[in-house]
């Protein structure tokens, strides 16, 4: 479903207004103070600035301006806009704003919590956690999840005090960054904790439930859970002891809050408490504790990259971290022996043997150690992200992940290789059915694989980025920094561009081609016509005109004089390609009449005559053969002329006796008559 990134546009633009990308900016309803930051709402990937609602100047609001380096959650913005619940800051509005650098950025207008950001001063008593945090937030999450949004930013440092000095806490913003992007690993369940922040995927409500439990733990401890532990140590502890036991001594858990902590922080997603369970418990109900099989740990640890691991999942984590060493160990006997004898995990050992038997692709272009380590991690921990050459992403987090990776050439190379290896689909296939349905939108990984290595200018990485991030604005210089996320808006932007004298010729760049290919489903020939109009056949040019004609209709048939002029040139080329001069003259007249009106559908209609080109070609061929036949006749007559003349002369000569006979009769009579007169 397409979501307009500018709901604040306020209806359709006026008839005489110039076309603007995606409607308009938020500037119509809000006054932004770009030089007045609001520290209490500042984030790692967004800038908080002061803003005033023109309609409600007394409203306490703040604008969170998204960084251009991340992909904001526009669909979540659309779903959460207008939601007002005590357990979360209210998202009032969102849309593009003009930024001092001359470009547009996406901003989310939130109600500013009077109490500011919550900063824990020490451990919070369980009763207060339940009253001030769990109850309002659980109620709010019902609404959020009901709107098909997973918050993915529930953590202790993203809580706000609704009223100054009051106890009520509210969840902070979650829409300015990709899901889970700013979450410390500890707030993510094991299946996504090892992924890179940008590649954690949309996740499911169970991700929010885990983060909720870990936030409770943070409030309970009065500090970040797991703080002080090395990142890898903490992850290994989580895999081997469980996430709850990794951050707290289970005997230290206060009994009055132990049930929800066990329920929310279980690492078995299917056993994790749901919101229904939590709300039932908050109302005094008794919920069954999660059933989780005990994790079997090896007595003798296995050391990899200096870390001691005791089970297959923690081993797979470390193989993903130290893939070069991991690959070496995988090829050796020692690791499998340890798995069989010390860890008593024959299944894991068998899986590794299967991985070793897998054949590498023949086309090369990869490091076989990387591939081996990746396959091993996939086999040992199919629930987790794919881990490839130091990168880690959930298949469903590929969009923001690729966007982040393309900022670094080394990461980009690895990310492209990851997609090209076709491992993502394998991982999805290896997962249980319920995790495959983690997202509502299926991703065609095979198509992405084809695109990402394609040399076609409208494919490649850019096409993948637009395909995976449906609200990513067009990154072409032709968008002039405007927040253009829809195809029709890009058409309007191109029209604006075409009206400047500098852009007399219609030629789009690769990024625009990729954008139009994704958003308007323009085919390759059409895009080629728009990129190099001089290099394509005339019938392909008609497809390009059709693309703009359709979009003009979708823009409410607003005149597009710039594009009409562009298309007019293409249309004249098409008209001039018609051989039949009277038809050409008629078409040219129609095209020239449509250009000043900016009416692209009329241009298209003038030229889109069924079978015109074929009939013209047939007629032309017939005319050519007719001309040739006549020329041959002329040539034949010229060639035969001398012979015919000679034949005629001979016939004349042959007829001389006859004529002489007739002449003789006449001469006889004449002589007789005249002689008799004498």
């Amino acid at each position: 479903m397409a979501v307009d990134a500018s709901p604040a546009a306020g209806g359709t633009p006026g008839k005489d207004d110039p076309p603007s990308p995606d409607g308009a900016t938020l500037a119509g309803n809000y006054v932004f103070s770009t030089k007045k930051p609001v520290a209490a709402f500042a984030g790692k990937s967004h800038t908080a600035i002061e803003v005033t609602d023109r309609r409600l100047p007394s409203d306490q609001i703040v604008a969170l301006v998204c960084s251009p380096d991340v992909v904001p959650r526009v669909e979540a913005m659309a779903a959460l806009r207008g939601m007002s619940k005590p357990g979360a800051l209210a998202l009032k509005d969102f849309g593009p704003v003009d930024w001092p650098d001359g470009k547009q950025r996406l901003a989310a207008i939130y109600t500013a919590a009077a109490g500011g950001r919550f900063t824990p001063t020490g451990p919070m008593p369980p009763w207060q956690i339940i009253e001030a945090f769990l109850k309002p937030v659980a109620q709010t999450l019902v609404e959020i999840h009901g709107r098909a949004v997973v918050h993915r930013a529930i953590r202790a440092d993203n809580l706000y005090m609704v009223e100054s000095g009051a106890a009520g806490l509210a969840l902070g913003p979650c829409v300015t960054v990709p899901p889970g992007y700013e979450q410390p690993d500890i707030y993510e369940p094991l299946e996504s904790a090892t992924a890179d922040p940008s590649g954690r995927g949309d996740g499911s409500p169970r991700h929010d439930m885990f983060a909720l439990g870990m936030t409770v733990m943070g409030l309970l401890l009065g500090r970040e859970p797991g703080a002080g532990l090395d990142k890898d140590e903490l992850m290994i502890r989580r895999f081997e002891l469980g996430s709850l036991a990794a951050v707290i001594d289970l005997t230290m858990v206060p009994p009055e809050i132990a049930d929800p902590l066990r329920g929310l922080l279980t690492d078995v997603a299917g056993e994790r408490w749901t919101l229904k369970d939590l709300n039932f418990w908050l109302k005094g109900g008794k919920v069954d504790p999660p059933r989780a099989a005990p994790i079997l740990l090896a007595v003798k640890p296995f050391t990899i990259a200096g870390k001691a691991v005791r089970c297959a999942r923690s081993l797979s984590y470390m193989i993903g971290c130290a893939w070069a060493e991991g690959a070496k160990l995988l090829r050796g006997e020692e690791l499998r022996r340890w798995l069989r004898h010390d860890a008593a995990d024959a299944t894991a050992a068998n899986l590794i043997e299967e991985v070793l038997r897998e054949r590498d692709p023949e086309d090369g272009g990869f490091d076989s150690d990387v591939l081996l380590a990746t396959r091993a991690v996939m086999a040992l921990d199919p629930q987790g992200p794919i881990r490839y050459h130091g990168l880690a992403t959930d298949p469903y987090g590929l969009g923001p992940f690729l966007f982040e990776a393309q900022r670094t050439p080394e990461q980009l190379e690895s990310a492209i290789s990851l997609v090209d290896q076709g491992l993502l689909q394998k991982l999805v296939d290896a997962r249980p059915a319920e995790r495959r349905r983690a997202t509502r939108q299926a991703i065609n990984f095979e198509r992405l694989r084809r695109w990402i290595t394609s040399p076609q200018p409208w494919e490649g990485l850019e096409r993948c980025l637009y395909d995976l991030n449906p609200h990513l604005p067009c990154r072409s210089p032709m968008a002039e920094g405007k927040w253009v996320t829809r195809g029709s808006a890009m058409v309007a932007q191109l029209d604006k561009l075409a009206q400047t004298k500098a852009n007399a010729e219609l030629k789009i760049d690769n990024a625009t081609a990729s954008f139009l290919a994704t958003r308007l489903e323009a085919d390759g020939y059409t895009l080629l016509a728009l990129m190099t109009p001089e290099a394509v056949e005339e019938d392909v040019l008609l497809d390009a005109i059709r693309l703009f004609a359709d979009e003009q209709v979708s823009l409410g048939s607003r005149p597009l004089p710039g594009i009409a002029r562009w298309c007019g040139k293409l249309a004249l080329r098409i008209a001039e390609s018609i051989h039949h001069r009277p038809t050409r003259k008629e078409l040219t007249a129609k095209v020239e009449a449509a250009i000043p009106d900016g009416n692209i559908p009329a241009l298209f209609k003038a030229l889109a005559i069924d079978g015109l080109k074929d009939a013209d070609n047939r007629g032309f061929d017939a005319a050519k053969s007719g001309w040739e036949r006549l020329e041959s006749e002329v040539w034949a007559i010229e060639r035969e002329a001398e012979r015919l003349r000679l034949n005629a002369w001979r016939r004349g000569r042959d007829n001389v006796p006859v004529a002489a006979g007739a002449g003789a009769m006449l001469a006889f009579l004449l002589t007789l008559f005249t002689d008799s007169l004498r």
Partner: protein, 150 residues
């Protein structure tokens, strides 16, 4: 082939006999008239000699017209009551000269006219074809012109 030649030879022979017979009779009647006839037919004979073998158009034309002119003159001189010497008659020779010229004119002008007429018809036909080509070019442009492999 030989049968046809034999038939032609017999026709020529018969014609020669008739001519000799006619000349004999004419000579008996008037030797001057015979000389006149013989002299009048000299151009025809010359034409027969000059013309290539197998072609007798000029000889036939001149001979036919000369004969057609000479016969009424000779018959006129024979049947009229007054004696008239054709051999010395300038009027008679004028008739003979006119007949020779007419024969010659038929021989020259008839084939030439036929050839001229054929040439004119060819030019008219080419003109009509070129006009049709021009119409095609008007409708379809000069690119319809193709190189015809002659």
């Amino acid at each position: 082939m030989s049968a046809r030649r034999a038939s032609a030879d017999s026709s020529v022979g018969l014609l020669a006999l008739l001519a000799l017979g006619f000349a004999f009779l004419l000579g008996i009647y008037s030797l001057h008239n015979l000389y006149f006839v013989v002299l009048a037919l000299v151009p025809a004979g010359a034409a027969a000699v000059v013309e290539p073998r197998g072609q007798r158009a000029a000889a036939i034309a001149i001979a036919a017209l000369t004969t057609a002119t000479v016969v009424p003159l000779v018959l006129g001189s024979m049947t009229s009551g007054t004696h008239r010497d054709l051999l010395t008659s300038s009027m008679a020779w004028a008739y003979v000269g006119g007949a020779v010229l007419c024969g010659l004119a038929i021989f020259v002008l008839l084939p030439a006219g036929a050839a001229w007429r054929a040439e004119r018809r060819a030019k008219q036909r080419i003109h009509a074809l070129r006009a049709r080509q021009r119409k095609i070019e008007e409708d379809w442009g000069p690119e319809v012109r193709t190189t015809v492999a002659h």
